[in-house]
């Protein structure tokens, strides 16, 4: 049971890192980016290339993955997304779905449709016995790494000037602009960081989420759940939502395997019915 909890927490942590970029993007620019998963997928495949083909050690490859995905985010944002900010939600949905389809087809073409596995270092693959519980080394690594990242993000948000500008922009972009904050630049940087984090999450999660061209669509619902349930005004909201989702999904698949993702979707629909603006969000 504790193993399930452990696995679920690891799963939830990765989901958080994957989805946090989407949450901030939505909160800051009111932009529904359904293609967020594509950046995660890109990160995963870049990791595969770096580690499996180029032989770069896994841990060393991770920062490179972050940078590559962030760069991809910057390019996509400046070239494509910037034209769609002011458009209606329908347009944003159409646009981002289009990007998803394009990215999925492209990856399928270049890398094939089979699932990809990243060669993990020996140290991480071992299972450890702590207090009589069998803990996977990799899962432990995930929890530590993602936990540290989450703390780092919170520090950036609350202690740095950039974080302050970001929070101001999320709260009220118009007023923030009026205060002299370059909201567009904050957004571009945030989008890049969010994409980078998504890519990192994709690389970290490839091991147990499964990396193949269907990744963006398969996990789209999960990202949206984290954002819709966790809200877009805090970091804590999506964090808690992701953990709940991770544990619920792992537990559900273990205890009631026949139900599959059914439980998750039902829980999500139920929560959204009860609180249409998410557990932590506010009406905007």
């Amino acid at each position: 049971m504790l193993t399930i909890l452990f696995d679920g927490v690891a799963y939830g942590m990765v989901l958080f890192i994957l989805a946090v970029g989407l949450s901030v993007t939505l909160g800051l620019m009111n932009f529904i980016n359904l293609a967020h998963g594509s950046f995660a997928m890109a990160g995963g495949y870049i990791a595969v290339l770096l580690v499996n083909r180029l032989g770069i050690p896994f841990l060393a490859a991770l920062p490179l993955v972050f940078l590559a995905a962030a760069l991809l985010g910057v390019v996509a944002e400046r070239v494509l997304y910037v034209h769609v900010y002011r458009k209606s939600h329908l347009d944003q949905v159409l646009f981002s779905i289009g990007l998803v389809f394009m990215s999925v087809a492209a990856v399928d073409y270049f890398m094939g449709s089979q699932q990809q596995f990243i060669e993990l270092p020996e140290t991480l693959r071992r299972r450890h016995q702590i207090l009589g519980i069998a803990l996977g080394g990799y899962r432990a690594f995930i929890i530590v790494a993602c936990g540290a990242l989450a703390v780092l993000l919170e520090l950036v948000l609350s202690r740095t000037r950039f974080g302050m500008k970001l929070r101001a922009g999320v709260d009220n972009a118009t007023v923030a602009c009026g205060l002299g904050i370059n909201v567009n630049r904050v957004f571009a940087l945030t989008f890049a960081a969010g994409s980078g984090l998504a890519g990192l999450g994709g690389a970290l999660g490839a091991e147990f989420l499964g990396l193949d061209p269907t990744f963006p669509l398969k996990f789209l619902v999960y990202f949206l759940i984290v954002v819709a349930v966790g809200g877009t005004t805090t970091l804590l909201g999506p964090f808690v939502a992701a953990l709940i989702l991770g544990v619920a999904d792992v537990a559900g698949k273990y205890y009631v395997p026949a139900a599959g993702g059914f439980i998750i979707y039902t829980v999500m629909v139920a929560i959204l019915l009860w609180r249409p603006h998410g557990l932590f969000g506010e009406a905007r």
Partner: protein, 322 residues
């Protein structure tokens, strides 16, 4: 201004345009003109009906849904199961499809009443995902293999469904036309007017006495029935139900089709369906994954160019047809 002007306004709006007659005559004539492409005609009619069903909620009530395939899929499975377990009458299948989808539509309609666009998006995706999961895992739906071995009896006892697809095409066209007529009536009715109002300004609509929630529930249910019948048509005419009737891809595709032709005027869905299916047919030799890429590219381009600019392309046909 004479009183005639106001009355004329309403009369002119609901009157049939000449080009509309041409459109439908051409549609039915295609069965005779393209005897070897009847499967395509069938596909266009079904997709067109599915697009009309989405138009009812998106174009006329402003509800953004990415899970409309749920109703299409439920209709398909219901029709298939009825044919397998009860009787292979095509109309029974259509009725079962419409009914099943309508019930689910009614039950889930209250989910989309409140919340933001994102919430609605989520809930519609979520509901469709739930049904996809059910169909994937349940035994009675055939799981990942879908339903096969469906035997549909001849239409009204005389016209068998053969490989040439003639009966299929005529059935699909007729059903689509009939449901189109109903939808057209609905759009120009007081009910349709109130839908337009609540789409444009829900706050004011409520303030002038429109029971907004009741109206939305009603149109969502009707749209679900339409989508269910479209799905049932697919099951009945192809005698097979695959799992992808519930796939996200299908919800995205019908949204693209509607956007291509323009939402809010019924013919948009039909024209969009025609364009997409003909294009898909022409590039059929390209593999599956290429198709998805171009689909995505078209979506991106449409948005970047601007839907209103594309709508201007349709302005002439819109005036002539609508």
């Amino acid at each position: 201004m004479s009183t005639a002007t106001a009355r004329d306004f309403f009369r002119r709006r609901t009157a049939w345009r000449p080009l509309e007659f041409v459109f439908w005559l051409a549609a039915f004539a295609s069965v005779l003109v393209f005897p070897s492409r009847l499967l395509l005609v069938n596909d266009v009619a079904i997709l067109g009906l599915f697009a009309i069903s989405l138009d009812l909620i998106l174009g006329f009530a402003g509800i953004l849904s990415l899970g409309h395939a749920a109703f299409f899929g439920i209709g398909a499975y219901a029709a298939g199961l009825v044919a397998l377990d009860l009787a292979g009458d095509p109309f029974l299948g259509l009725a079962a499809g419409g009914l099943a989808a309508g019930v689910v539509g009614l039950a889930t309609s209250f989910l989309i009443l409140r919340g933001s666009d994102l919430t609605r998006l989520m809930i519609t995706i979520g509901v469709a995902s739930i049904f996809l999961e059910i169909a994937n895992r349940a035994e009675f739906t055939g799981g990942a293999n879908g339903l096969s071995g469906i035997a549909i009896g001849p239409l009204v006892g005389f016209f068998p469904f053969d490989l040439y697809g003639r009966t299929a095409a005529i059935l699909s066209l007729s059903v689509t036309f009939f449901l189109f007529l109903l939808a057209r009536r609905l759009i120009f009715s007081p009910f349709g007017q109130s839908l337009r109002a609540l789409k444009e300004n829900r706050l004011r609509a409520g303030a002038i006495g429109v029971p907004t929630h009741a109206r939305i529930v009603a149109i969502y249910t009707v749209a679900a029935i339409y989508a269910g019948i479209a799905g049932a048509l697919l099951a009945v005419t192809t005698q097979f139900v695959s799992l992808d009737v519930l796939a996200f891809r299908r919800s995205a595709e019908v949204l693209l089709v509607l956007v291509l032709g323009g939402a809010g005027w019924l013919y948009g869905g039909l024209i969009g369906a025609l364009v997409l299916k003909v294009l898909q047919d022409q590039v059929a030799d390209l593999t599956e994954q290429y198709w998805e890429f171009w689909l995505g590219l078209v979506l991106v381009v449409i948005v970047l160019v601007g839907r209103d600019r594309i709508a201007r392309l349709w302005r002439l046909p819109r005036v002539l047809l609508r």
